[in-house]
Amino acid sequence: MRNIWTIAKREYDNYFNSPLAYVVAFAILLPLGIYFALILYVSAEQALFGGGVPESTPINWLFVFLMIFLSPALTMRALSDEARMGTLELMLTAPVRDFELVAGKWLGAMLFVLSLAVVTLVFPIILDNLITPGIDWKVVLSSYIGLVLVVSALLAVGVGISAIFTNQFAAFFSTLGLFFFLWFMISLPASYLQESGEVLNYLSLSNHFSSSMNIGTINLGDLTYYLSLTVLGLFVGTTAIEIRRWR
């Protein structure tokens, strides 16, 4: 456990050495800010004509949506670059379990994205100050728990795929392709398959956030989905490292 933390800490610090991480941060926070401002503007106009109170959580939906495209950039180098630079030899001859290495990489990426998520807390805080009687913080909490779970799954799968490749771009495009498929495409045939199509609906990434946790309902199915993906990603990563040893 201690080793996971040591590796995660180095990984986290390392993100701030890389221009890529700043680009990702920028590419997430800027659209969110613009989106928030637009919602405020539209809501304020609506309010003049007696419209409803603005929702506080669509922001997190956009965060998750952007992560589909940006998280592969955060994880592509995690293990592929260690293999390319030869530093994997250092890690694999240090008294560190293969799982600890993979989990440490994942946790480091988690910490980076969580830092960004903390920054986005300004949006509900601003909103809370703007409207009376304030916003429902329970919904905000549920939405952020959902956000953490989605991000956890995405980063674990990304790190897992990164362990398979030595080339970071191969890792990037494989991860991006997989997320694209899981988000947009996997549930497409579901409507034709009726009953059995439910399986495909369950496997779809997009079905587990926007209509549940983001609006304040946490259910077991969604929790299981994200935690399973996280475990699967870390398992794939650990296995890929073990296979590297035996080659």
Binding site: N3, N14, M85, L90, L92, T93, A94, R97, R247
Partner: protein, 308 residues
């Protein structure tokens, strides 16, 4: 400290090392000598728990490298051949990170200590990416020494260093080797002779010679080898030379020349010359063959190739 038996490693169809057997005791510096691609790095990678062998067994610091890999890795310091380092990190932070992975108490003090040992204390706050090759080599060495390992495995530790640094690093290795076990690989014979107590010569995945440095030295320098050539094809030349007292390992070469050895100290060349002339041959050449370390090495590694 290190015990290797029947160690074999295949990369797909290619057999990198074949049935290696050797051991190394505490307080011993063992040199692993061989041309590139002989299997030195492969063997070291197995001993450090980087990869498992295809067959055979290796015990390092009392633990099996496959079954108890983590225990082995806790006790081994390893400097890989390519000296992989996180180039975007500061020297001090890098060593601290590696120290934390090894759960070293008071890691900051220990990092300062090893930086001092390898003479890099003034570059502690520099980025590894900005260091010269020799300095990186020393960062790698510092990393290997960090946890005071019982066994130190160094893959080409002096490569890329300038002559002054080579002397320093050798001095450091000798110092460490007094109490710990050091296995180092090199293809510089002079270096092996200089710092190792024992030398293993490996070629094409097999150990072709194993000896203490003294014995090896005796084999190399203790005897002088001379080539004799006379006019015409003379079959009995070898027998003639054998009659001279003190001459040994006489052999006839393909072109009719005869090579022989004698213990260094007393030069037998005049006696041999007299014997050859008195036997009625026209002596054309009597030349000492300076058997350099490189030649012995080539002979050892080459003779193996000839057998195949």
């Amino acid at each position: 400290m290190i015990k290797v038996s029947g160690l074999t490693k295949d990369y797909g169809a290619r057999r990198a090392i074949h049935n290696l057997n050797f051991d190394a005791q505490q307080g011993e510096i063992v040199g692993f000598l061989g041309p590139n691609g002989a299997g030195k790095t492969t063997t070291m990678r197995i001993l450090t728990g980087y990869m498992p062998p295809t067959d055979g067994e290796a015990i390092v610091a009392g633990y099996d490298v496959v079954e108890e890999s983590l225990e082995v890795r806790r006790r081994v310091g390893y400097l890989p051949e390519t000296v992989p380092l996180y180039t975007e990190m500061v020297v001090f932070d890098y060593l601290k990170f590696m120290g934390e992975l090894r759960h070293i108490p008071n890691v900051d003090d220990r990092v300062d200590e090893v930086l001092d040992m390898v003479g890099l204390i003034d570059r502690a706050n520099g980025y590894i990416g900005n260091l010269s090759k020799g300095m990186r080599q020393r960062v790698g060495l510092a990393q290997a020494l960090l946890h005071r390992p019982e066994v130190l495995i160094l893959d080409e530790p002096t490569i890329g260093l300038d002559p002054g640094q080579v002397v320093e690093v050798r001095e450091l290795i000798r110092e460490i080797g007094k109490e710990r076990t050091v296995l180092l690989s090199t293809h510089v014979l002079h270096e092996a002779q200089n710092i190792c107590d024992r030398v293993l010569i490996i070629n094409k995945g097999k150990i072709v010679a194993e000896d203490t440095t003294e014995n090896l030295q005796a084999r190399l320098i203790g005897a002088e080898r001379v080539i004799v050539r006379v006019r015409g094809e003379v079959d009995e030349l070898a027998d003639t030379i054998k009659q001279v007292k003190g001459v040994r390992s006489v052999e006839t070469k393909e072109d009719g020349a005869v090579e022989f050895e004698f213990a260094s100290g007393k030069d037998l060349r005049p006696e041999v010359a007299k014997q050859v002339i008195n036997s009625g041959y026209d002596l054309l050449e009597l030349r000492p063959l300076g058997m350099s370390l490189e030649e012995i090495f080539l002979e050892l590694t080459g003779s193996d190739a000839k057998k195949k």
